[in-house]
């Protein structure tokens, strides 16, 4: 049969090409020449691959293999005029013949279809495909280059379900459609290669012959990646939204426009402790007694009818609701109901957002209470008669009561700094140091200070508080300070008086002592002499006793005079004082005692520059100086030129006069305590009456001074007189 065909073909009825066993063109009839572009009309050196392989992608080897596998070996080629010709390879007497058949109208449609289309045999071998399909597969896909490729046996397409589509079509006889992830596309983002999926809608349909037998299968591929990804994205968004609603931190309840509950999210179910298995879909907000109790039905109606949002804070006692919830507590709830239009049936749905605000309410309540307490406290502190302020550690004012503001005398607003607004707190002072230190201290500190601007004394108590602020309490202690000062003055006056009284008492005691010793003795003598006189019978004796009596009376008189002198000194504390020069008074005394001084050879020296003057009664100073000079003469060392050195110093606000001689000296251990006593003598000196130093001491002490002595037998005596200065 082949021979007949070929012969016929070669007789130019059918386009035909004769090839040798290697695919080289041996000859072509005229019809074939018209369809295949032969170079220069010479067919002798042309190969199949040059004529067909390079143009169709189906090379000699692949085509021959198809034939040798017992299959129909066909290729299609567009002619010069755009006419498609189908060529079939046949074996003929050590040669091969390609017989052409011009394609009909459907083939044109096939090539110009805006979809990828490919023809397969019923058992899955590819026959032909249009350009778009080639583009989808890629020119190097095994479907084009692998001889004997069968889509039913491709493991990849079996896995994604493409191969099964073919089988299904064969089995059902109808078309089948499926979205398949055909391949991945590579694209580069920076240095990394990313793969993006390419989705295609694959449609497989059959072609029938006149006997209704399936002759061919066709595969249509249409890319749907964008739609697919959009759809996937939408699904993902919907799932996400669903999850968000479910796990919102507040309750979400959705009602249809009849008031039936259509959704209650996880958060609210948890909050209400909804019993498991409860069918809440039957719940209707318009009819539920608990909802009606709290007016939720009215809220719902308002939202639906007025199409607006409503928000209410309601204190709800959940113990009244037993059907849906086990929550039996009183809670403050924040309900927000708002309308939404259902995108499908366009009816209004109502969404309720429900928030438990019990803690917030409690906090608000506490804060209000706290604020009220603080205000009450401030009112209280305003009422107390004491300055009070709470400050930050750096001095910023949190609160200052009325009294404290009055005390400061300047306007002070909360927030301003006391170290900036109060004048006394700006200039450095010991008070400011103390205050600054107390502001940093961790223990309470108390101190007081005088403020010149207000002429007031204030007492401060600075106490650290737990919140790292400080409380300052201020008291006006001006009155008590003055009183204290008065008291202090009165006290010191009393002390002085007491001292004077003690002194006077001591003097009285001394006086009593002196009297007992120095007046009782002569009186006792008088008594004894009187007794002798009375007992005596002899006139001569009586006269003798009377003579003795006279001597005693004279002596007593002398003693009394001395005592009167001393009493006079003691009495005359107000005696006139004048500023006297030691030097000039000493010159005067030297003049009075010129005879004694010249006879004794006493040498007087002075060093009186440091304290040349003293305020003192003149007659006392003269008496003192005279006593000192007389003593130095009276108790001079025999055989030695007597000296007396006067010096004056200023020491600790006092003036000290020192008189140092080189006389006999006194045994201070024995006589120190009696040195300034009345009628005390310590040397066998006929002139000594023991009155001079007694008077000197009284004169010095009457004027608030003191006298002491340093001496030793044979080493002279040093008298130290301290004068009180004003």
């Amino acid at each position: 049969m082949n021979d007949a065909i070929i012969n016929k073909a070669l007789a130019s009825f059918v386009p035909a090409l004769l090839l040798d066993l290697n695919g080289n063109l041996l000859s072509a009839n005229d019809r074939a020449r018209g369809l295949v572009q032969l170079p220069g009309g010479n067919a002798g050196k042309v190969h199949y691959d040059h004529l067909f392989g390079e143009r169709t992608g189906i090379y000699w080897g692949a085509l021959l293999a198809t034939l040798q596998n017992g299959l129909k070996a066909c290729i299609e080629l567009a002619g010069r005029s755009g006419q498609w010709t189908a060529w079939q390879l046949l074996a003929h007497n050590e040669h091969y013949i390609l017989l052409g058949q011009e394609s009909t109208q459907p083939d044109k449609l096939f090539s110009h279809l805006p979809l990828g289309i490919q023809q397969f045999t019923v058992d899955g071998f590819p026959v032909k495909s249009n350009a778009l399909q080639k583009e989808i597969w890629g020119p190097h896909h095994p479907i084009f280059i692998q001889p004997g490729y069968n889509i039913l046996r491709d493991p990849v397409y079996r896995q994604i379900g493409l191969s099964q589509l073919f089988e299904e079509v064969v089995a059902t006889g109808g078309p089948v459609k499926k979205e398949i992830l055909l391949r991945y596309q590579e694209f580069a983002i920076r240095d990394a290669i990313r793969l993006s999926p390419c989705f295609y809608e694959a449609t497989v349909f059959p072609a029938f012959n006149q006997q209704k037998q399936i002759t061919d299968l066709y595969l249509l591929l249409q890319e749907c990646t964008a739609q697919k990804l959009t759809l996937m994205g939408l699904e993902k968004s919907a799932r996400l939204l669903d999850s968000v609603v479910e796990h919102l931190p507040i309750g979400y309840v959705q009602f249809d426009h009849h008031g039936f509950m259509r959704r209650i999210n996880h958060t609210h179910r948890e909050f209400l402790k909804v019993r498991s298995g409860l069918q809440y879909e039957s719940y209707n907000i318009m009819s539920d007694p608990f909802a009606r109790l709290y007016g939720f039905n009215e809220m719902f109606m308002t939202v639906v009818t007025e199409n607006r949002m409503i928000r209410r804070e309601i204190e709800v006692d959940f113990s009244a609701e037993k059907t849906y919830t086990d929550l039996s507590e009183v809670r403050w709830m924040d309900y927000t109901l708002f309308p939404l239009r259902d995108p499908i049936d366009k009816k209004t749905i109502v969404v309720a957002l429900i928030n438990d605000i019990t803690d917030k309410k409690l906090e608000h309540y506490m804060r209000t209470e706290l604020q009220r307490n603080t205000e009450q406290l401030h009112l209280f502190f305003d009422a107390v008669d004491m300055g009070y302020a709470t400050l930050e550690r750096d001095g910023r004012v949190n609160f200052m009561n009325r009294k404290a503001a009055q005390m400061a005398g300047v306007e002070i607003q909360p927030g301003c700094n006391i170290f900036a607004v109060i004048p006394e707190f700006r200039t450095p002072s010991p008070f400011l140091d103390r205050l600054a230190q107390a502001m940093k201290s961790t223990v309470s500190e108390s101190f007081s200070s005088y403020f010149y601007r207000m002429d007031k004394w204030f007492d401060f108590l600075v106490t650290p508080m737990r919140d790292n602020t400080v409380s300052v309490f201020i008291r006006d202690i001006t009155g008590s300070r003055k009183l204290q000062k008065e008291l202090h003055r009165a006290n010191s006056q009393l002390s002085k008086l007491n001292r004077n009284l003690t002194n006077q008492n001591q003097q009285l005691e001394d006086f009593a002592h002196i009297t007992s010793h120095n007046l009782r003795a002569p009186i006792a003598n008088l008594k004894a002499l009187m007794q002798l006189h009375n007992d005596s019978e002899k006139e001569t004796e009586k006269e003798e006793y009377l003579g003795m009596l006279e001597a005693v009376i004279n002596k007593t008189d002398e003693t009394l005079n001395d005592l009167v002198n001393v009493v006079q000194i003691r009495k005359e504390t107000d005696i006139r004082q004048e500023l006297l020069s030691f030097e000039s008074r000493l010159q005067y005394i030297s003049h009075v005692l010129v005879l004694e001084i010249s006879q004794s050879g006493l040498q007087i020296t002075t060093d009186l520059q440091e304290a040349p003057m003293v305020r003192f009664p003149r007659i006392y100073l003269d008496s003192i100086l005279q006593n000192l000079v007389t003593n130095s003469i009276r108790y001079r060392m025999p055989g030695t030129v007597p000296t007396l050195h006067f010096s004056s110093r200023k020491e600790k606000g006092m003036i000290t006069l020192t008189a140092e001689d080189n006389g006999m000296g006194i045994d201070m251990d024995r006589f120190g305590s009696k040195l300034f006593g009345f009628r005390k003598t310590f040397h066998k000196n006929a002139d000594a009456k023991g009155i001079g130093l007694f008077i000197t001491k009284n004169q010095v002490e009457a004027m608030g001074g003191s006298i002491s002595a340093e001496s030793a037998p044979g080493r002279g005596t040093k008298f130290i007189i301290t004068f009180k200065t004003e």
Partner: protein
């Protein structure tokens, strides 16, 4: 009644010395009276004749308030050596002081026989005789 051989009067007041001398003589309690204006002189005497009992006094009338050395100084000094004396000497403090503190202080000296206040009267002399 045994007549005292020697009586010391230790007193700086010459009038009192005279009066005491007269009183003692008149009452006839002692043969001889020796007066000292300075207490130190009396002590010196006692020390000088410490081994001659005949020359030591039987009685000393001691004043307290004296210049240079007073009665207390005398007693303090005397306390240091009186136990060495070959005979007991009766010491009486004879003073114009009526100060209680002086009276109490005298009690500290066990060898002082009594505290007498001036003036020296016949009653006191009689009392001395009784002692």
């Amino acid at each position: 009644m045994q007549l005292l051989n020697l009586i010391f009067i230790v007193d700086d007041d010459p009038i009192h010395q005279q009066i005491a001398n007269l009183m003692i003589k008149r009452q006839g309690i002692g043969e001889k009276v020796k007066a000292f204006s300075e207490a130190q002189d009396a002590l010196n005497y006692l020390r000088e004749y410490i081994y001659e009992p005949d020359l030591l006094p039987d009685l000393i009338l001691l004043d307290l308030n004296m210049p240079v050395m007073d009665g207390w100084d005398f007693l303090n000094d005397y306390a240091g050596f009186y136990e060495q004396l070959p005979k007991k000497i009766g010491i009486f403090v004879l003073t114009s002081s009526i100060d209680d503190s002086d009276r109490k202080k005298v009690d500290d000296y066990a060898f002082v026989k009594g505290y007498l206040t001036k003036p020296l009267s016949s009653e006191i002399i009689n009392k001395l005789q009784a002692e």
